[in-house]
Symmetry: C2
Subunit: 368 residues, 2 copies
């Protein structure tokens, strides 16, 4: 990689790693005979989307109407809008329902009624179930509530009751492979039980859709599930590496940041690269918060993580990186340092435009 | 305000409050006979910039070359780029130096030498001094280092030694007016002492430039200072309110977010409004982290903060807001809830485009 062209914080994409991540997950889905409906909120890019298409993917997940509209405009015909129904965008949602096969999430009778009255084109309806992440969705143990909602969707005439959908986001806080696998198995067991109750109530054959990157990366057997929707795995990041979802060499994204100052007493270097480039997502490393890991730029991308180095503080445009004495002596003002973001989805949303290692620019929804 | 048009997370700007904040700070600077060089990184908007111009401002501060170029294109002729010199943008910086009166920050001999060799147009050189924030700059007690740098700038022939500049960012972590005022007084005393040493060393008459919003809001007497550079005060936010820099009724910015779900058991409402709209900046409230405060939309903007309510969790697009039982019963799916961001600079960078209470759209550098 010729980094001479990089003047300011820049999203660097290792295309080979990214495509390997895509192909690995696609192969795993095929081997399990489950539908692979990747979440495109991580990359938000028509260009990266083409690599999924090349891997045989034709159904996707997004998290906003804007993203659905963007990908519909790039030829995607089967899109699940994995976000609780936003009533205020109902007109745009109905336009989407005409253009593509659209999946919508429902978690209340009132939203089901609202959509039923306003949709003029059929959609798939997924019941959003909370298996423990406690973000949103109907708690998986609330069987009666789920059955009532299934009935409302079924009677709507325009929303086809498609299945149960969950995002077990609590795997992000799990420690290690065994804990993540246990959350996954527990979630699927609960969903299967709930699907059984729905069948008894007259709604047989609902599908099960599950989604988080940790479980989809670490679990090999998706028995009983119809669809997986991981997103972050396309790039991974420092947080996924920390919880064990990926190897260091699977991480496909880094932010190249110019070094603008050095402070020997504190063994800190100051980067042009702050909260508006990396986001303020943090993770704990030992006893301190970290806003990213650091590496050197190399001819083929970037080096191994600098041992013990981490982004210790971020303001709007500045980042402080703590490094070892040996690394401190290697790093000069005017150099680039590569930051492995804590959360790639957010760094992508901040920076929007990718530069691949071969120097190609790849745009996303938010590129200007 | 007619909020019917708001369909997704939207930056709502109370223009009257914003202009009052601008006029109050401009009047304070005039009364103190100091130059008012507001930091435009908070709003990043040519439109908001015009309100400063109307208040008599003709000199500004920015934090990136992109911002400097944008505001130069909107008629600003006197711009300080308050960021450690980024060597990799030296060519663009030299172009700026031809277009406007440009101030640059220096904190090392190597950056002074680098710029001296490459600038073909004169600039003002500010020595960046660290008075305790420990982000970057030469520690204020390192007199010899500052004198050496002053000499290098002075001998460069192209960089005019203008003064000492500091950002006492540690006021953001101070508790209350007295603590903030103490940090301010201490910083200025140190800067004055340093300026005295510079005069003894043959560099008399250097200016002093100070900048943070807490001190500029709470201190009345800027004796001995030549220039103030606050930025955040243009809007303020939940963090500034918490540390006492502003009153609730001075906050000029909120993010209108659609309510998409409700969870009675947890007294939480789910917003379409997440980390990519508000940023993940957090502040501690009692014993819990908060990503924002909440208010109701009203005809004239938004209500008082909902008592005890706070944004308890953010993911990419979702926000969870904890509310009282009484408020929970008032809030319905499809409503808007107003979130007062923890850090307005970052929320502005996320959302980019403002909607004023009279329904006018105001663009910023990052508007698409």
């Amino acid at each position: 990689m010729d980094y001479a062209q990089v003047q300011k914080p820049t999203l660097i994409l290792n295309q080979a790693r990214c495509q390997a991540n895509i192909n690995r997950m696609a192969a795993k889905a095929r081997a399990n005979r489950v539908r692979f409906r990747p979440h495109f909120k991580t990359h938000q890019s028509a260009g990266v989307g083409e690599w999924f298409r090349a891997a045989g993917v034709d159904a996707i997940t997004v998290s906003s109407v804007d993203m659905a509209t963007y990908f519909a405009g790039h030829g995607w015909k089967d899109i699940t809008l994995a976000f609780s129904l936003n009533w205020r965008q109902m007109a745009d949602i109905d336009v989407l329902a005409q253009r593509v096969r659209l999946g919508l999430l429902f978690e209340s009778l009132e939203s089901a009624a609202f959509a039923s009255e306003r949709l003029s084109h059929p959609v798939d309806g997924w019941i959003k179930v909370d298996v423990g992440a406690h973000r949103t969705g109907i708690p998986v143990e609330n069987t009666a509530e789920v059955i009532a909602l299934a009935g409302a969707l079924d009677r709507s005439g325009i929303i086809h009751l498609k299945g149960l959908l969950t995002h077990a986001g609590h795997t992000y806080h799990a420690a290690g492979r065994a804990a993540i696998a246990a959350i996954y198995r527990d979630s699927v067991e609960h969903l299967k039980t709930l699907a059984g109750r729905l069948a008894q109530a007259g709604y047989p054959g609902v599908e099960l859709s599950v989604g988080d990157t940790p479980a989809c990366s670490l679990v090999e057997d998706f028995l009983g599930v119809d669809e997986i929707r991981p997103g972050n795995f396309v790039f991974y990041d420092a947080m996924q590496w920390q919880i064990g979802s990926c190897r260091e060499e699977d991480i496909a994204l880094a932010v190249a940041c110019p070094v603008v100052a050095r402070h020997a007493g504190r063994r800190e270097v100051v980067l042009y690269g702050g909260a508006i480039h990396l986001s303020k997502e943090l993770m704990m490393m030992d006893d301190h918060p970290s806003y990213g890991l650091a590496a050197y730029p190399t001819l083929d991308g970037w080096s191994h993580f600098l041992s013990g180095a981490y982004v210790s503080s971020l303001s709007q445009e500045h980042g402080l990186v703590k490094v070892s004495q040996a690394d401190f002596e290697q790093i000069h003002v005017g150099d680039l340092l590569m930051v492995i973001p804590v959360h790639s989805c957010l760094a992508v949303d901040c920076l929007a435009t990718y530069l691949t290692l071969s120097g190609q620019q790849i745009d996303s929804l938010k590129s200007r």
